[in-house]
Symmetry: D2
Amino acid sequence: MAELRLRLADFASARDWGRYHTPKNLVAALSVEASELLEIFQWLTPEQSSRVMEDAATAHRVEDEVADVLAYLLQFCEVLGIDPLTALAAKIERNETRFPVPDRTDSRLRHSSE
Amino acid sequence: MAELRLRLADFASARDWGRYHTPKNLVAALSVEASELLEIFQWLTPEQSSRVMEDAATAHRVEDEVADVLAYLLQFCEVLGIDPLTALAAKIERNETRFPVPDRTDSRLRHSSE
Amino acid sequence: MAELRLRLADFASARDWGRYHTPKNLVAALSVEASELLEIFQWLTPEQSSRVMEDAATAHRVEDEVADVLAYLLQFCEVLGIDPLTALAAKIERNETRFPVPDRTDSRLRHSSE
Amino acid sequence: MAELRLRLADFASARDWGRYHTPKNLVAALSVEASELLEIFQWLTPEQSSRVMEDAATAHRVEDEVADVLAYLLQFCEVLGIDPLTALAAKIERNETRFPVPDRTDSRLRHSSE
């Protein structure tokens, strides 16, 4: 991922796109790309949505939009000096405390003793 | 990143959230999180948007939303069997062909010879 | 609707919010509000999504987000001098040509003659 | 607006699109269209964003996306039985209480007495 971040930064600077790459513009672009990914699924049933990769053209479109979302997320992180993997690891730890795994053994015991 | 994907998958399955995690629902959640990140920037000037990390509370909020976007992107890729880094590498290669670096030396020469 | 546009304009100018209301900021806010509406539905099945108005608290939340989306849409139109109803009428006319109603009588006749 | 809601409902039912028009699908489409409107502005400076209507092609694109956003908002309201203008009027009233107009005379007096 570090290598891809570097390639994206080189790509933008070689084309002199840096002045467009404010955090505000990059996050707008990120949200636009996430919506383009959503667009592929908007009229599908939940079941159809699970089978999008079976059609080669749709699969390619999905992968292409995933790449765009990740590209803008990495560029956004780059200009603000954020490490997205560190941010995610910290979030998962907070969530493990916030949403504890329901203790099924216990709840089953409680039910049987009622 | 592979390790974080695994932890996210374990986290969801331990809480029995798998049935909510259709590709359609995950991409809707991804797009909602990208908008929550955008919300932090919506009234800022371009200059203010470049300084969001100077305020500790805002910096934390930005990192938290980045984590959410990445979490849903990875979970979406997980359920569809997509490797996001491979997808991004392929996209960068296509873009390097699609948007060639403007040849500045050449264009300067052309201008001077006119 | 004209009256509501006027009230929204008065509301913003009384609070000196005009300088934040660039078209770019208003469209970002519009898209953020549309996502907040989507957030209410993101984990629901299609069937559950059809019953959201049965719960008073959720119904209120849905109406509130609908109001936010419409408010930003009208303010965006206001600053750019767009009449949204005229734009919609023109679009419907174009779509009636673009997506003609399938001629069912004809197709039924064709089927019966096969 | 009531007339446009009716035309939209007729348009969808003539094409047998009703089964796609769950509230969840319509709100996803609304959010996708709001993002397509945002896409027009994503790389513009605030000043450029105020001048988008000066170029005929861009103006047409903006009006077209405004029509799409309004169309999906009205169809969403239609299937859930929401009156968007009533919802907006109620919201404006709540906001007038929530964000009172700053009393400038008073604040000026206070400043001068310090």
